[in-house]
């Protein structure tokens, strides 16, 4: 494995490669060339080879890539050969939904507990996961060896919660609050800005309509 800094653009493509490899495996496909993979996934064959060669030579000349082998390699690169222990901060709609969503659990990301400040919610059970008092988050993270904190509190409290989680010693923060937060450099941060995503969708919807309208206009003027 090489040592140079891998660009984020490459990292963002890895989970997608992995998803397609899972599908191929399901279908019993044993090998795939970069060209075949390109047709399937929509990246150029060249880009696929470049991306993979950031991490090592996983292919074999004249043959292609082993589907199983590549799947294992990418999983290892992403760190998906480990288990992760997570806490959810905030038991609002989103926090509760993520707590109940089994999809992550199946992939090795386990929600261990949910933390709340509201007394109405503390003590409740979410499909077997307890809602606990925000007061106790620091000791819980230490004792239960929590890796990841998921921020589902509102905008105004997001930074404070992030600070607390960082202090408590999580290695990563997954932020769903619609605001930018700052974390120490030894903590990894991934944002899911749902509103931003929706706004981007709105832009593209309007863009398509605008183009259609100008096309129609051009047609009439003919």
């Amino acid at each position: 494995m090489k040592n140079a800094k891998i660009s984020n653009a490459v990292i963002k493509r890895l989970p997608r490669y992995r998803r397609y490899l899972i599908e191929l495996r399901k279908k019993g496909v044993e090998k795939i060339s970069s060209k075949e993979f390109s047709n399937l996934i929509g990246y150029t064959a060249s880009q696929i080879r470049q991306d993979l060669n950031n991490f090592g030579g996983f292919g074999q000349q004249g043959y292609g890539y082993s589907v199983d082998g590549l799947y294992d390699e990418i999983s290892a690169i992403l760190g998906l050969d480990k288990e992760y222990r997570m806490v959810i901060m905030g038991a609002g709609n989103l926090g509760q939904a993520i707590a109940k969503y089994t999809h992550f659990h199946k992939q090795g990301f386990k929600v261990c507990g949910v933390f709340e400040i509201s007394p109405n919610l503390i003590g409740k059970d979410l499909d077997g996961i307890e809602i606990m008092d925000y007061e106790n988050i620091v000791e819980y993270v230490e004792e239960e060896e929590i890796d990841i904190g998921i921020i589902c509190v509102n905008q105004n409290n997001a930074q404070e919660v992030a600070d607390k989680l960082s202090f408590a010693g999580v290695k990563g923060i997954w932020n769903f609050a619609p605001t930018d937060i700052e974390v120490p450099k030894h903590v990894a941060l991934e944002n899911v800005h749902l509103s931003d995503s929706l706004h981007s969708l709105a832009y593209h919807m309007n863009d398509i309509q605008k183009k259609d309208q100008s096309k129609e206009k051009a047609k009439k003027e003919e």
Copy 2:
């Protein structure tokens, strides 16, 4: 407003500009220079000016940008001066959470209905939003003039639901299913691949740890 194709990198930054402008407005700030904005938001002043000039000259030489004015311009560019009517496909945990999440509603994105295939859920009420039968989605979209379909069904049904929504005439699809779907070119598509995001977080967590370890090793070898 210019006509050249705007790159997606620019579009993705617009909601973020807008968020910071909202904060500035709250604080009563009236004008901001690209340099001041740069310090705040973390993009270079040059990039800010480049980005904005894709859409028009919103600033004034020697002065800067009007916070209010720029907010309005960006909102209009994104199409946030309109209201959007949405349906949620799938009343699982995620679908229910989004239905109840008031944040989007406040920004002009209204969830009008939720659609399900499971008889146990059809007819139920989610904070005033009815869960309806998937059978009736096409006529509902037409009659209620739905703009956006939100896909919260599982991976295996996502493409079928997307096809149905496209046929029914939505202008945009917001996909939360952990798979890639295809839509006709007159339909805008925005994906929220939560698993991919989590995998990317895992990578960065491991990357930080690896670097820390090699640093420590280098220290010991001194």
